[in-house]
């Protein structure tokens, strides 16, 4: 395929950087504010994100190799090799969060070039930018076969356009955990060997050496962050919800870019400490943030949040006193990686890949997903579920109707399903979604 000449200035990256730098500067003054002021999230997240965005330019200046990866690959591996970890989905999602129309232009360009309207915009945004010469170019790529066909094929497209060495990682259908009904003893060695191969691949194409010590160091940081994340998951079971509805997904985004460096720890720790603080004082986020209001209902957002309007969660808090305790991406279950031996480290990383939010639920049989939803509904005392089905995710939509019935049978909790494109408001806009949620609340819940 024809090579694209890339410019030094990348509009996609610049747009994100500009937006989040302004946000960071606005938030930074509140950084040390007490929790009781009801901060929606800590400025530390914005600082981490802006540092991450800036680091790409530094990498370019210094000639540090850039590795593009999809959201199922642990960034610790790249940090251990001193390679810049360019998470493609973070670029596409962050651009959508930046609430500009730039991402829509990229979607249009990708579709004009022949990609289908129903293919996932988490990759199409980037491809549209590539076609405009407005996206950074990696030196090599690493991506996994799952959680969806869209990732699989659109990474093939990006690899062809970039024409760079690409490592593909095969995630199996079965489970590594002996307690799971789909357990298969082959899964761990099959995947751990591939993680070893990723390391060799990074060493070769990143012109670097990944020592065990370095790997231990980067995994050590993500382990600490994961421990805080797991503690936070436990604390979210408290009623009323001690954290804002946006907190879990922000933690997810932080871990996507910073697992492997100390900055990953900051936001997860803030979530843990903030939740603990409110629980000790016997208050919830809603009562502390909105006067004269208490948490009335607890929602589980079964699929990915609305990236073009993340404040939908906030609107639900204000309008119905609903806390969205968790969303699928915010449900962190990655266990710390055992650092006691080289083999254990690779096995732990292999498990981490399968436990990445969305890969955890979507890579295999429906039961992986169903078990999580049922467990969350029961453990977190959820009143209802909302399934905002992203049109790019055919695997999710295909089981929504069946799962709604099974969730109700197993927990008695209703699920509302509607379609949207999480990255493009032109498909279904915020106003329409709010109307649907309002109707659901009035007809079923209130």
């Amino acid at each position: 395929m024809t090579m694209i000449e890339y410019q030094k200035k990348y509009k996609l990256w610049d747009t994100i950087r500009q937006y989040f730098t302004i946000s960071r500067d606005a938030m930074i003054q509140f950084e040390d504010s007490p929790v009781s002021t009801g901060m929606s999230f800590d400025a530390g997240f914005l600082r981490t994100l802006v540092n991450y965005l800036n680091a790409l330019y530094t990498a370019e200046e210094k000639g540090t190799p850039i590795a593009m990866y999809n959201f199922c690959v642990p960034p610790e591996l790249f940090y251990a090799g001193g390679v810049y970890p360019l998470c493609q989905e973070v670029g596409s999602i962050a651009l959508t969060l930046a609430n500009s129309t730039v991402h829509m232009n990229y979607i249009d360009k990708a579709e004009e070039s022949g990609l289908q309207r129903e293919q996932c915009n988490a990759q199409k945004i980037w491809i549209g930018a590539m076609l405009q010469n407005e996206a950074p170019k990696p030196d090599f790529m690493v991506y996994a076969s799952q959680p969806c066909d869209s990732t699989n094929i659109l990474y093939q497209v990006m690899s062809k356009f970039y024409d760079v060495p690409t490592f593909t990682y095969d995630i199996p259908y079965y489970h590594y955990d002996e307690k799971n009904e789909f357990y298969d003893e082959r899964v761990t060695p099959y995947c751990a060997d591939q993680v070893r191969d990723i390391v060799k691949f990074i060493e070769l194409h990143g012109k670097t050496e990944i020592t065990l010590e370095k790997l231990k160091e980067t995994i050590g940081y993500s382990n600490e962050a994961r421990n805080y994340a797991l503690e936070t998951m436990e604390l979210l079971k408290h009623k009323p919800n001690p954290l804002p509805s946006l907190a879990p997904v922000i933690m997810y985004l932080t871990l996507m870019v910073a697992s492997g460096i100390p900055e990953a720890i900051h936001y997860a720790k803030w979530c843990r400490d903030t939740a603990n603080d409110r629980i000790k004082r016997g208050v919830g986020y809603i009562s502390e943030n909105y006067r004269k209001k208490e948490e009335k209902y607890r929602c589980f957002w079964v699929y990915i949040p609305i990236f073009f309007d993340p404040m939908m969660f906030t609107w639900m808090e204000q309008k119905f006193q609903v806390t969205t305790v968790l969303d699928m991406l915010g449900f962190q279950q990655m266990q710390p990686v055992d650092l006691s031996s080289e083999d254990k480290m690779y096995e732990g990383l292999a498990h981490a890949i399968m436990e990445m939010p969305m890969a955890r639920q979507s890579r295999g049989p429906m039961e992986y997903y169903l078990d999580d939803v049922v467990r969350i509904v029961k453990d977190y005392d959820i009143d209802f579920c909302i399934w905002a089905g992203h049109i790019g995710c055919k695997h999710s939509f295909a089981i929504a109707a069946l799962m709604r019935r099974l969730i109700e049978e197993k927990t008695g909790v209703p699920t509302m399903i509607f379609e949207l494109d999480s990255m493009d408001s032109r498909n279904v806009n915020s106003k329409t979604i709010k109307k649907k949620i309002t109707d659901f609340m009035n007809d079923i819940i209130l």
Partner: protein, 368 residues
Amino acid sequence: MSIEDFYEAIQPVPTKYMKNKKVIGSFCSYTPEELIHAAGLLPIRMNGRGHKETALGDSFLSKFNCTFCRTTLDMILKNKYDFLDGIISLNSCDHIRRTWDNIKYEHPPKFSHFLSVPHHASPAAIKWYTDEIIKLKNHLETSYNIEITNERLKESIKLFNKSRTLLKSLYEKRKESELKITGTDAFAIIIAGTAMEKEIFNEMLTRFLETYDERPKVDYDRRVMVVGSLIDDIEYIKLIEDLGAVVVTDAHCFGSKYVWDMVDETKNPIEALSERYLKKIPCSRMIGKNVNHDVRRAFIKSMIKDFYVDGVIFESLKFCDLQGGDNYMMIRELKELGVPTLELDREYIISGMSQMKTRVQAFLEVLA
């Protein structure tokens, strides 16, 4: 042997060819059918030919799932597949994988098995799939109280290879400038092979090939290749040929991708099956070093050259992310080589034929 005999086999299920044995349906060309045959069962490919509704399937799958899955699920839920003794499903694509989740809960067959197919064809992946085939073998043996010996399996492999050889010789004849078979008829023959006993099919095809030269010459003005994912309805081919072209070859999972590669008869049969199925001309789901887009492109390029193809029609089932993405790359690459291409989005259940006809007609005019 008349071509009509093959057409009998591609009627809506169950056909008269599905009456003599217990029938096992499978969703994908990555199913090692030889093993099912060696268990004394009849393997057929799931299809929705002749079925015109998806309403019940739609109540489970979404409108963003492909109509092949919605059609077959609809049929299963309406008991139209109750003649099957079992179903084998795979993680071929998101649509099929999730269709299986729905079947499992809503209409579980008597026998069912799921194959985890790797996306690679590395030695580790081949070992993985070998184990999967062994698990299927054990499951069939216990469920049907039969021993699948190596000898039985080798016999089945031989039979299926014979079928592939015969079909490839049919493809060979379509390389010639003077054609004695239309693409529609050739496709009917190939599909028939997925829906009947291979012993009977091989016999029928052998006799057909023996009389091939006696067939009248086919008039055509352009030679076309059809590329896609899942096409099992001859009407799509007929539409192209009714406009004066002839479909001389293809690259999709009911055509050459099903037929092309042989199972090595000299190797351990299960390992040979694993190797053949993982290393065959790859589906767009495959991303391994030796089974990826480059391999698919090389295959299509060789087909274009060998079959003297004037233009390529890419058919894609709506909402098929995998094929849609692969077509996207392939069309750009073929354009760079100066090969005329047309991309047609379609539904599994035939619809919008007049619009499709207009587009094909315009394409054929460009070729002229």
